[in-house]
Chain length 594, copies 2
């Protein structure tokens, strides 16, 4: 249990000034009783008189915080609710990932954004293939990229950690890495990537070259890039942690789901206490082995028939994906977002890749280039994506719906309960929802009738376009649930492109124009108003409307508290942030009681 | 005056069936009296019995409509208010521009979007230089481009009309052309531009090549691209038109301002009845002769000192611009929007231009390329632009403010009244407004003190970011006026990039998901809610807050009516749409009375 910590100077004090020591001990005990927590006291002694300078709750590691809280409950000093308030949700991250041994001496090369927590050691590689190749041979690697794109996902999964030179806290690298629970440092502008090496200036201005194969350590919790192999210590999830989290679960009202696109992620998330999937991004499935080619065939198709032929190749693969995820979530609800990104994301950009892909697709490079040019967008973020794709090419969502319900029927026949919630992305007007929902329901009913199986399912909409929040009372007539896509909602409400915001947002935060990065913590004054508006308008139409959030904010403690106050039903976040959200949701209830 | 129109069959009828004719005449007079307007009647006669099929107000040209309305008032048949409702504002466009002689036989090659009304005849050129070169020699040209960019503005001004292959109703070409009152057809996808010619398929599928120097006629009111020189008839603004518009002015409550960036545009707009400038886009001034080089020097500057040196070169030029505009608007308010677009818009994009510019700036091509890469943005629409530039580089707005107030002081000393309204673009949070306003006020007061002159001025904000509408009660504490930038507000509320929307918006309108293009007519259900919210929140803080709109919607009749109902103080639109807005504003009052 907590008590007076007695480092050297204090024991010395006891010996040479027993009176002052006794005085201090009595003050400490009074303070500890008053604050009901361990105290760090600053004091000075002048002319035999003890002067108190300041006192505050003692700092400690996450493991210590959880242990102390549990101990104090067991000893009857505080109750469970008080214990829950003693540990900050942000701190829990430390418990869930391996960390650099606090005693290790490290050589910090540069600092980037702490995009995904934990630590990783490995040999530098500069492309996804080398990371995958290395993994096959049992070699641990750190993938270093200017920035990552969906084609790097395989390499990111194979590497121990990811380091990028550009991109913010919600860049592709950051989001995907957090989803994987993989250590990532993003936007490390100090490194200059060249062919086969990257260079960085040390404090003295000397250029240091780090070559392919050199060892590097990343501290994703601080953003520190470290030369060489630092010693790591493993994550520690003891019995105290489990007990502590069970108290949180007993208190919270918000459900906590996870954002997961694979059976593996789904399993991790369940272990961390996820109560369903709040966001399954189907486009990530399109990048898996054997997928990209039929996806590209579909994009290059000249007519509906050719498009449907390519989609037919994808359908069994998607069905397999959904079966895996439904199984992993056995009986818990799974929200599946239909295809969202613009199609050009699936096509190659550069010369070499272009030639390779043209060959694979058996078309001329010129034809491929023309298609790429044709699909090019000035502002892809505001372009032809989300449900807009399904308005122009309805067969895409129809294929995905078929795959979902075929998978669900297969499992239902095996006796498994499956709860699919089909989610339409980027809805901004009523017509988009009625149009796409009609298709989903039609295909779902057709499959269930043919398979003679009844599946309970919902069709809902994302609220991520500002206009959707403004017409929520109308959307709620058709939508069976709302899910806030707060990443896009933040982008559009602020007029900030998350890919470009790095040029001025740091300056805004430095100048105090913004207190926190709105992509990290929900902007309650602006974006929050749209959320509150959508909740109240939506429930005015449908009082029991299920409402959640599936943006990255779902794992941010202050955003979780906001979601609780805004009467959402659930938050959803990446697997490794599920425990954070569970604790934050419990604290939200306790803060309200005060 | 109106009466029964007697084409051949009717006079025939009078001769062979006098009884039926008399019956018809009596019905017509009853109807005309009832509807108080000329009637088109459809009827049939079977077995000597007259059957009425339908009746409706007679169709007529704009000139005829205005003339008939004025005649009827003079003859005491209708009052002025009734007369005002007899002419549709959209129709007025016909009166303000030259048109193709309705009797002319034309060979329509292709059809694009009717982006800016009127008609133009000239010889095809494919770049701005050739248009300007041609104008010097007195040659009339039609500028044909894939799409236009700010560097084409000189050529657009020199040409008779503009034709683009891509881009929508609010593309660069469309907006600039409307501002100039110049005929433009945009997004004519049927033409394929090649080197020195463009090709298009005729109805039979035969490819027709139109070479540089060939004559072309554009009908900007219908979007028709016509081969050869069609006969044009001049615009006709008779005394009836003036009288009619004076009635409108007596009735309307909304003020009508104009969007103008040059003294020439300002003069045209005043002739059309503009009561001030609602939007003067200062960036257009940066493309004028002698401007682009110092602008580029500023962008490439490594530090504040170098930036200020480049800005010092621009200041006298900007001051001259403002003087010209203030003079043209003699005493009427002039709203000046400080620099808005992202800086990369001022840098070259292609290889050849890159080499030329690098030479002019006396730097290496590599340096220039690096700067271009560094400034590249994934979604420029949501990037580093507007007041965000002034947060990172405050010296830009300071220079512009100095130029505005030096110009105003010069003119005030000459005894001219000047009313500058300085407008901050792209404000989304309170800090942006306080930061930039502080700079503007500081510089303005410094200039006025030094020049010993007092100028009445306002500092206000655009409301074009959704978040600005959500926090309008706060912004109104600092802002002395609001001006809705409905183009950007529409882009962000819908999540539509106006540059990319051509890929799916036509499909949406075809499918009935949207009734009108929200970039043409304000989306009252969604975007309109943000406007109403901002008006009520803003006036809750400052009841007398001046509020206007300066997006292209300010010239659209149904949007003008919406602005009237939403209690705005003024609308602002391109010069040639000012009469349309004046009539629409009057009709809005009359509709309310009903």
């Amino acid at each position: 249990m907590a008590g007076i910590r007695t480092p050297k100077p204090i024991s010395e004090l006891k010996r040479v000034m027993p009176k002052a020591y006794a005085q201090l001990e009595s003050i400490y005990q009074t303070l500890e009783k008053h604050f009901r927590d361990m105290q760090d006291i600053e004091f000075t002694i002048e002319d035999q008189t003890l002067y108190m300078l300041q006192t505050r709750n003692g700092k400690r590691s996450a493991a210590a915080a959880v242990k102390i809280a549990c101990d104090m409950v067991r000893e009857g000093l505080i109750n469970k609710e008080e214990a829950l308030m003693r540990v900050s949700p942000e701190q829990l991250d430390q418990l869930l990932h391996p960390m650099i041994d606090p005693k290790a001496k490290v050589n910090v090369l540069a600092k980037g954004l702490p995009a995904s927590p934990g630590a990783a050691v490995g040999q530098v590689v500069f492309n996804a293939e080398d990371a995958m190749e290395g993994a096959k041979k049992g070699k641990k690697t750190i993938l270093v990229r200017q920035e990552t794109s969906p084609e790097d996902v395989g390499g990111m999964a194979a590497a121990e950690g990811i380091l990028t030179a550009t991109g913010g806290m919600t860049s592709h690298a950051a989001v995907v890495a957090r989803g994987m629970g993989k250590c990532c440092i993003a936007g490390c502008g100090a490194i200059q990537i060249d062919k086969g090496f990257f260079s960085v200036k040390d404090k003295a201005g000397k250029v240091i070259k780090v070559k392919q194969g050199d060892f590097l350590t990343l501290n994703g919790s601080t953003g520190e890039v470290i030369l060489g192999q630092a010693k790591l210590v493993d994550a520690e999830l003891g019995s105290d942690f489990k007990q502590f989290m069970s108290w949180a679960d007993a208190v919270r009202r918000l459900k906590v789901r996870t954002n997961a696109d694979t059976p593996e992620d789904s399993k991790i998330a369940r272990e961390f206490g996820a109560e369903g999937i709040g966001l399954c991004r189907t486009e990530h499935m399109f990048f898996g082995p054997g997928r990209l080619q039929p996806v590209r065939e579909m994009i290059l198709a000249d007519d509906k028939a050719a498009r449907e032929k390519a989609l037919a190749k994808l359908e069994p693969l998607q069905k397999g994906d959904f079966k895996g995820i439904f199984k992993a979530m056995a009986g818990l609800p799974v929200t599946i977002r239909l295809l969202d990104p613009p199609l050009h994301e699936f096509l190659p950009k550069e010369g070499k890749e272009m030639i390779k892909v043209a060959k694979e697709l058996k078309i001329s490079v010129k034809e491929l280039e023309q298609k790429v040019t044709q699909l090019h967008e000035v502002n892809p973020m505001l372009g032809h994506r989300g449900c807009r794709l399904a308005i122009t090419y309805p067969e895409m969502y129809r294929m995905q719906t078929k795959a979902i319900f075929e998978a669900a029927c297969d499992l239902a026949k095996e006796g498994l309960r499956v709860v699919p919630e089909v989610m339409i992305p980027l809805v901004g007007m009523m017509g988009e929802l009625t149009f796409t929902k009609k298709d989903v329901v039609e295909v779902a009913e057709e499959v269930m009738k043919r398979r003679k199986t009844k599946i309970d399912y919902l069709v809902g909409t994302m609220i991520e376009i500002p206009r959707a929040a403004l017409i929520a009372e109308e959307l709620a007539k058709e939508a069976e649930f709302f899910s806030f896509g707060t990443n896009d909602l933040t982008q559009m409400a602020f007029g900030f492109s998350r890919d470009d915001v790095g040029k001025f947002l740091p300056h805004y935060i430095e100048q105090g124009l913004l207190k926190v990065d709105p992509f990290v913590s929900i902007d309650q004054t602006g974006v929050g108003k749209l959320i509150e508006m959508a909740v109240s308008k939506g429930r005015a139409t449908k009082p029991q409307l299920k409402i959640g959030i599936c943006g990255e904010h779902g794992g941010d403690p202050s955003s979780v508290e906001f979601c609780h106050r805004s009467k959402l039903d659930y938050v959803s976040c990446s697997p490794f942030r599920v425990p954070i959200a569970r604790l934050a949701a419990a604290q939200a209830v306790l803060k309200e009681k005060k």
